[in-house]
Symmetry: C2
Subunit: 336 residues, 2 copies
């Protein structure tokens, strides 16, 4: 079995998605996909003393939830892999105290969930592990105070901003096809693209070129076409970023037609005033583990691309006048 095609594309034969679980916040519950999620918080502190502890608890809840849905015990899982947006990915790392599985911490900002599926697929397809859990997520209130301003300041938001989604998504990947919802058949790890954007409010514009670069690489390597897919789902470009990607790709010979969706832009209603829609590591993690997996279960999708997008900045680099390097990882997901 050939494990790669073209310059950068991984090929997987035995990387099956057994089950997924999505937990989301109260705002997401009242958004466009509120009915899809497995569980929604009533209040975004989730009964904890701090938002950070609530975020950590969401991760444990998502892991326990996906294990429960798949009728598995924690000891059935060899390795868990993923990350979050907090400094030192502490939400996932602290959640791991509750489990005996080995842990690989990953960080590619909001592209971390796609990264975890990519690395996880290598582990199970390569025969190194039988079952892994891939996890990522984010929390509006922890991200806001770490990356932007204290919530109490009530700072006015720019019209190009997005709203960091609250939620966590977990998927079980395995090399066994039994009871699988779908399978991961190909993937591309993206390269870092920085076109010099310094406006930290406009992450969609910064990330769109990285998404375009990875999708073009995938199409070049695999000879696939837009029409082969039921949908191409970017992680969290938001409405503006999605439009920039659409135009950017068209200039480079790829017409997405009506196939381009953005997980962030899908989350909220207009009246919820998130401006460009959702952002954050939760976007692709919760949309993949609810809406997208549901479509596969209902046999409505045969093949999609998931393109996790990440802006690799920190407040410190912005304060030091740096632009925003971005990355995107792409996965081809097919019905079994």
């Amino acid at each position: 079995m050939q494990k790669r095609v073209g310059k950068q594309t991984f090929v997987f034969e035995n990387a099956f998605v057994r089950q997924g679980f999505a937990i989301a916040g109260p705002k997401e519950k009242h958004g466009l996909l509120g009915d899809c999620f497995d569980f929604c918080l009533q209040d975004d502190k989730f009964g904890e003393k701090s938002f950070e502890k609530a975020e950590c608890k969401m991760f444990k809840f998502a892991i326990d939830g996906v294990l429960n849905k798949a009728n598995l015990q924690p000891q059935n899982i060899d390795t868990m892999l993923g990350g979050d947006l907090l400094n030192q990915i502490v939400s996932v790392s602290f959640a791991m105290r509750a489990y005996d599985s080995s842990f690989l911490g990953l960080y590619n900002a909001c592209g971390t969930f796609a990264e975890s599926l990519l690395v996880g697929s290598c582990l199970v397809d390569g025969g190194y592990k039988n079952k892994v859990v891939c996890i990522s997520g984010s929390h509006f209130s922890t991200a806001e105070r770490q990356y932007r301003y204290p919530l109490e300041l009530g700072v006015l938001r720019s019209p190009v901003t997005q709203w960091t989604a609250t939620g966590a998504g977990a998927s079980i990947l395995t090399n066994e096809s039994d009871n699988a919802i779908c399978k991961i058949t190909k993937g591309v790890a993206g390269r870092v693209i920085d076109l010099g954007i310094k406006d930290v409010n406009n992450m969609g514009a910064a990330m769109a070129p990285a998404a375009c670069d990875t999708i073009l690489q995938f199409f070049e390597d695999t000879k696939a076409k837009v029409d082969d897919y039921d949908g191409i789902f970017t992680g969290d470009l938001g409405k503006l970023g999605r439009q920039i990607l659409f135009d950017f790709a068209k200039d480079r010979g790829i017409d997405f037609k009506d196939k381009l969706f953005d997980c962030g832009a899908m989350l909220y209603k207009q009246k919820q005033q998130t401006f460009q829609g959702g952002s954050g590591a939760a976007c692709s993690a919760i949309v993949f583990n609810s809406y997208i997996l549901n479509k596969f279960k209902q046999k409505k999708y045969k093949k999609i691309l998931l393109v996790g997008t990440g802006a690799l900045l920190s407040p410190l680099t912005s304060f030091q006048g740096e632009s925003v390097p971005c990355i995107a990882h792409c996965l081809e997901v097919c019905s079994c």
Copy 2:
């Protein structure tokens, strides 16, 4: 080929270390291993305006250095993988702007270099990639002001502290045996262990049980013994942490005898007043890519274990009263 043995151990057949490169800071230059490093900084700002930019430059220097030593061009590398200790692993992420290879960001604190060798070995041994660069490192002055106090405060240090090493190490892994220095034959991804230590000055004590857990798992899975190895190198437990691991393992039936070394404890001279020795992601990265690879080149080593150790905390979790979860990843490295 069996790709795993026992409960948690990866088995690799085709994961060769083609070349390594270590860049270190001025204090490390004057330490015990100063003559081993490929390049040492004269001043730890490395001609840049900030310590953070200097750290990023070290990563690029290490990547360019290892490519040069291996007589390879950047375009020969499929993927680079690694991370650092700064929030959002910005040193590595920003360094990646200079390269066209794909990038997988990893974070397991000071265990990140071992994690990158583990994931990198899966990528090349599994046939997904031909050549990857694994990289990690740290910088005393960026870590100090992010994790502890502004340098200008001149805070007195506790006698159990370690000194964050300045440096970066890069290795090229490939599935081709030509010109290889050594090969990675097995590995264990560790689980998160937290015995409740809250003293953020005493990272060695917090990490030692995680190192013990991973080494015991490796020995259980592989039936290997201490005597099979020329040395067992932990990442950055420091002198005290190394002693704790020694005693901890002895209680559990493993006598390390004279085989246990700690990369952090190996770095500095007594008079350099680092107290327990070095810490930081640089420790295992620069010692592996200089001292250890040199021993393999000189045919003085046949088989070693590298056990990268990481403390998965952030200042925020400590301020919120949390203890310190830790992790360790183990690799068996053999002569070719």
